[in-house]
Subunit: 462 residues, 2 copies
């Protein structure tokens, strides 16, 4: 039975097609807007894309110019490949990958050739024994190196090198079985990989470099600033002292990105350790100390997250009680917030964090006041402890945050000693106290958490 | 001036050499012990190494057998390369990489050839215009795709594919300039990559497969169990009701690994989405719901971290006060702990989490008791609120944890509805309540946090 063409079904089909079409257009527009936003958030992303394209175009000229092509032949392909695989966003990541690739290729090439000659001399060219022996060697080497890749210390810094080692070792020892000009091939491969690696490292360092160390430094200081923002705004939000319509909630919620910042920080520390001295960061800069600072910031952030949960619990506490405890609590919160922001400024400017001490001292005085107030007269009129519980908890958590901040200040002082921060700018810092360095942190930092996936997925390929 | 050989300096030199030697030996022994520990923690690591070695040995047989070699020639190298680069620890990661690589190679190959023929027909074989046009196309394509890699949704699932796309597009359109048999080369490359990808996917799936989905499932349920362990032990630790020498501290501190579990979970979710249905996980299993459960677990873990900070603050509270509040607090903590452990068991066994409801109800009753106790008679004898602060804070935090647990239970219920968990095992689950599923979670899970770097650094190479 053949169905007749029904005008209604045609109209329906047309409608479907139009819907699909408009949805498709909407999706494309959406992606375009996202791409535009990515570039606005951090223009270094667009620059990075052009840098990679430039390096590839440069290296592919090997193929176009006769003289260059004739010296390497089709091995020139390895140079193109190396540039594509090695080019990462930051200098540290690129250098790490480049060095891993270069060293691993060299070492595996030598060992692969060695194993081939050994097998060849044992088997005396026997076409049955030779592949069996080669197979056994490849099996053992691959299994061993794959297993070593699970070691955490190898994983963190040399994972890519170990992968390239397996790759080159297999390629050299397998192809040695057929390729009669194996030495020439190996030599060409090492040379072209070195050329590719050099080009991508050069472009990465000399064209608008992105330093993982600088990003790490900015990320850690920005995170501390976010914690400070929360605490500075917390008193007003909790005690409801803001005018109608006014609210700090937006900037206060920024602290949430600190909670899950560990992975990004660890990756940046790994990359930063590959980088040479640059800008304000000297040779063998104590990058590991940032791990300690980051951990303490997160510890503080966990307390703040608990505090955040109490922001809506306020209504139950009676007004008189509130007003009694309000002053020291607000003082404590604001001073701790200022201390954190001052710590962030000092870290960012690389000056000793002494300017934060006055705020820490003030917050400790407020804490002592609060304690003695709680000790003496707070409960004179209240026998109903239940109404007091939320505010007492908040006060207690704030006391906890004050001691976390002290620990954080100590770890930044340690960094200051290790990295020999100098004090000449301390006057400027004191002036900046009122206007935090929000404007000074380059806009890239704003999006550094967004970038987390970029940095963790440092994927290479062939 | 030539210095004479001094017996003392020789002895010193010898001592140095011996020190260096013994240090070297100690280092090697240390690494060996670590390797042994890695294998003990999770034997799947050793199995994975042998699987990779087996796949590589299998694919390298292409080279040894004349007939196979003659049909592909040196392109057989690409198969070896693909196996090495694509073989990842879990099935999901391997499938994701394999599909990305296969599709990207095919697409880029076609587009690369297309762009070459277009350029060739425009330039009509002119040896100056042709490389310039090719260079412009490569520059634009590379810059565009590199920029698209920054899009978070592309980064998460298709980053490797985009990289391979750039690679293949460049290789094909560049080498087309020199290679006269470009079609044959492209065809060989696609075929060998498909063969390599197939071999590694087959070995990964059919030889002791490691499912990212299963790992994710175990990780999330194990994390909830860790939170439960803390809360079950907290009452005894805080109120000091344990015998001398007894302590839960070791198992209680396990919750710390939950704080930074986000990255590992997100990666496992991404991998799990590539996996076909397997075991108890059907097609289109709601993996995204694990993200919600994980986030709620972490929120609970932040509160627990704050509670943990109060474990040493106990001494200040007077004994009588302590004994008054002790019962409901302990009840609340233990019941919440049991509820979390029951939720973990239900999740692990994939049965509806109804068995946890009794514990949640009991913890809520304890919470109501605590509230009314605080409301009425707690402060009769105490005018010094200061002594009461820590314990009131702890009680308040416990109340907060109870409501977090409720939310967590709801999200697991949602998963249960989405994934259609069945209730036939509920009796078994009720029995298991006293003996949590510690023994049942395969030992691999114990080390899953250790593995985090493995999963985040899914590095490939050439």
């Amino acid at each position: 039975m053949v169905s007749q063409t029904n005008p209604i079904s045609i109209r329906k089909g047309w409608q479907c097609l139009m819907n699909w079409h408009s949805e498709f257009i909407a999706n494309i527009v959406n992606v375009m807007l996202q791409l535009k936003k990515l570039g606005k958030e951090d223009p270094r992303r667009a620059i990075h894309s052009f840098k990679v394209a430039f390096a590839i175009t440069l290296v592919s000229s090997f193929y176009y110019f006769n003289s260059l092509y004739h010296s390497f032949g089709s091995s020139a392909m390895w140079a193109v490949m190396t540039v594509i695989v090695v080019s990462e966003f930051s200098v540290g990541a690129t250098l790490g990958k480049g060095l891993n690739r270069g060293l691993a290729t060299f070492l595996a090439g030598v060992l692969g050739l060695g194993s081939y000659y050994m097998v060849h001399s044992i088997s005396r060219g026997d076409h049955i024994i030779e592949p069996i022996l080669l197979g056994i060697i490849i099996f053992l080497a691959t299994a061993g190196v794959t297993y070593i890749r699970f070691l955490p210390q190898m994983k963190a810094r040399y994972d890519y090198g170990l992968l390239v080692f397996i790759l080159t070792f297999c390629l050299v020892s397998v192809s040695s079985f057929r390729d009669k000009e194996i030495l020439k091939t190996a030599q060409d491969r090492v040379t072209t990989i070195l050329i590719g690696g050099l080009i991508s490292v050069m472009v990465c360092i000399f064209v608008c470099p992105v330093w993982a160390g600088g990003d790490l430094h900015n990320l850690v200081s920005k995170n501390i600033q976010k914690l400070g923002n929360f605490l500075e705004g917390f008193g007003d939000e909790y005690f409801g002292t803001l005018e109608d319509g006014e609210s700090n909630k937006l900037s206060m919620q920024e602290y949430k990105s600190v909670l899950n910042s560990k992975q990004v920080e660890d990756n940046l520390i790994n990359f930063a350790r590959w980088e040479p001295c640059h800008g304000r960061f000297r040779f063998q800069y104590p990058w590991q100390q940032y791990q300690k600072i980051g951990n303490l910031s997160r510890q503080c952030a966990y307390r703040i997250d608990t505090l955040n949960g109490f922001l809506n619990n306020f209504s139950k506490t009676p007004k008189e009680m509130r007003s009694k405890i309000q002053e020291p609590c607000m003082k404590m919160s604001i001073e701790t917030g200022k201390a954190l922001k001052q710590l962030s400024v000092s870290l960012h400017k690389m000056i000793p964090p002494s300017a934060a001490n006055t705020h820490i001292a003030a917050s400790k005085i407020a804490a002592t006041n609060l304690r003695s107030m709680i000790k003496t007269n707070l409960l004179e009129d209240y026998t109903n402890l239940f109404e007091v519980v939320p505010i007492v908890t908040v006060a207690s958590l704030l006391l906890d945050v004050v001691s976390s901040t002290e620990k954080l200040a100590e770890s930044i002082q340690e960094l200051s000693n290790l990295a020999k921060f100098k004090n000449k700018e301390s006057k400027v810092a004191a002036q900046d106290q009122k206007s935090p360095h929000h404007e000074e942190v380059p806009q890239c930092v704003i999006t550094i958490n967004h970038l987390s996936t970029n940095l963790t997925h440092n994927i290479g390929t062939s």
